[in-house]
Symmetry: C2
């Protein structure tokens, strides 16, 4: 039983429930009595979220990400902070690391602060393909508004804003097949929600273009540029003429491999990265990369929070299309 | 009159003053009377810092940086957060932007929170060569412990941990002259304290190696890789055979210039970057770069805070030597 249920049962908005909890003069006595009756009948204790909405708000939110020194996350935290600041909110930052226990502990700890909402940055908080659970996210949503950037967890109280990673990779891999590429590698460095979506896009694009998916062409490798290069150099029996990577660093590793093997890019090997980070401009030739539009994701999430606090309805899943930035490592 | 003055006049540590303010049972009545007498005689009102040290601490610090999406700053914030978290401290993050008014406003705003200390990340908070003042940093230090990462402001209550940027650039430019380079450009993108230190190192190294410093070889250019390349392409009359840049992005811009002009690197042009960021591995050839050791800076600053809170003496200026990482854009 949480604030959403109370609102629904009482036939009012969550903002109204919050105002009742905070005994706001803006709510009529009649409504107050009705809401309180529902709360009592359901043994409902006002929680952090309800308090956060009201007069007791500290105007502070929690931002949790695995590692803010990561390019993508740093950008997202910067966008979130700026947007939240523009609404007068402070941000407590918590870098949780990537391990399940550490992520759960971070969320648990930050919920003990007086925060009005929780932003989880990066799809590492949306479980992974190996069946990691997301109970800690669901539990957080029982007591506070939760926003998930670039991941999806189906749960009342969890609002997800994500890039259309599936479609972006589907389109990019399809485009590679249209330039005649058949041996397309998929390089990935995590099992996060968004990575699994990208992999689905890769697989479906191959199938839909009449190319069979083989396990040896899907390669998990930790995101260090020179590690990727050396790993590819060692796979002497693997034939490929293109690479789709879930991250620009991985793609540049493939580019370093091509250079070492004196292969032409994009002729012998075409390469597509992801995130359109500054790295994509540094390498030679410059890297075609998918822009995940994280600024739009972050703005959308913060604006969703503001809408919810004003009692307006907000969709639980908002998907933002990506954008392919064509440079010199592809033939299209 | 601040807590340092009170501590000195009363002949006790600042931690003791703090305990008196918080009426801690750990301090004898005799000492309490002595400290209170000094406080009254000097019309001293206990401030945020004094409260922060005591029982009322929220175990929260403020971290202010111009822009956390910047590589260097993101790394520093990540290191600070991790170290502070290990001591049980929460971090409120504030991205201030680069303008003087915005920086001062950010510091002013964050001081109104109940924080125990303030960390300013990046030498943009230490004034610049154009005489920008740092009154807002001094004022902050009147009410709270201030730590400055990679900058220096001489002031009681401001504790500075900085890279030896002067020596690093001095050594790198000297090494360039020893490989026969005479026309060495200095590319920079700000007037921050650390940039001015780097410029001093550049100038002194030239002078000490019998090369005159010319203004046209010191080039201010905003940190966009392709902007740097195009700017150099336009300067047709400028002769140079080496580049020392205050940032890896600037250095890679010079590398892009060399490629466009079909100049060999490091033969025709040697190039040195700064920060040893991931960018330095992406480019071709890979970039020699100066590692500013920001992890050490951040750890040192946090450990200084912990020492001060325990009443131990801490030096106001700690300088950490840099480390040149030699790759393929230099001949040494």
């Amino acid at each position: 039983m949480n604030i959403y249920d109370i609102a629904e049962l009482a036939g009012v908005s969550i903002a109204t429930v919050s105002r009742v909890v905070n005994d706001s003069p803006k709510v009529s006595e009649k409504t107050k009595m009705k809401v309180r009756a529902v709360m009592e009948a359901n043994h409902y204790t006002p929680n952090v979220f309800a308090r956060g909405l009201g007069l007791n708000s500290m105007k502070t939110v929690g931002i949790v990400c695995p590692d803010v020194s990561d390019d993508y996350m740093a950008g997202s935290v910067a966008y979130l902070e700026k947007r939240l600041r523009s609404y007068g909110y402070d941000c407590i930052l918590y870098c949780s690391g990537y391990e399940y226990e550490d992520k759960a502990a971070a969320v648990h700890l930050i919920l003990q602060k007086r925060i009005d909402a929780l932003f989880l940055v990066g799809s590492h908080y949306a479980g992974n393909g190996s069946g990691e659970d997301v109970d800690y996210v669901r539990e957080a949503a029982d007591t506070i508004l939760v926003f998930l950037i670039n991941g999806y967890v189906r749960c009342p109280g969890v609002y997800c804003v994500l890039s259309d990673n599936y479609q972006a990779v589907y389109d990019a891999v399809s485009a590679l097949t249209e330039t005649g590429k058949k041996g397309i590698l998929f390089l990935y460095d995590s099992n996060s929600y968004s990575t699994m979506e990208k992999m689905r896009g890769y697989e479906d694009a191959l199938k839909d273009n009449g190319i069979s998916v083989t396990e040896d062409r899907k390669i998990f490798v930790q995101n260090k540029i020179l590690t990727v290069r050396d790993m590819l150099l060692e796979k002497k029996d693997l034939e490929f003429d293109a690479v789709a990577a879930t991250d620009d660093g991985l793609a540049i590793g493939a580019l370093k491999y091509a250079r070492k093997k004196k292969l032409s890019v994009p002729g012998d090997i075409s390469i597509i990265g992801f995130n359109n980070s500054e790295l994509s401009i540094c390498c030679e030739p410059e890297l075609s990369s998918i822009d995940s539009r994280s600024e739009t994701l972050c703005k959308t999430a913060v604006d969703s929070m503001m809408a919810l606090l004003k009692g307006r309805p907000v969709r639980h899943k908002k998907v933002v299309p990506c954008r392919l930035v064509k440079r010199r490592t592809t033939n299209f």
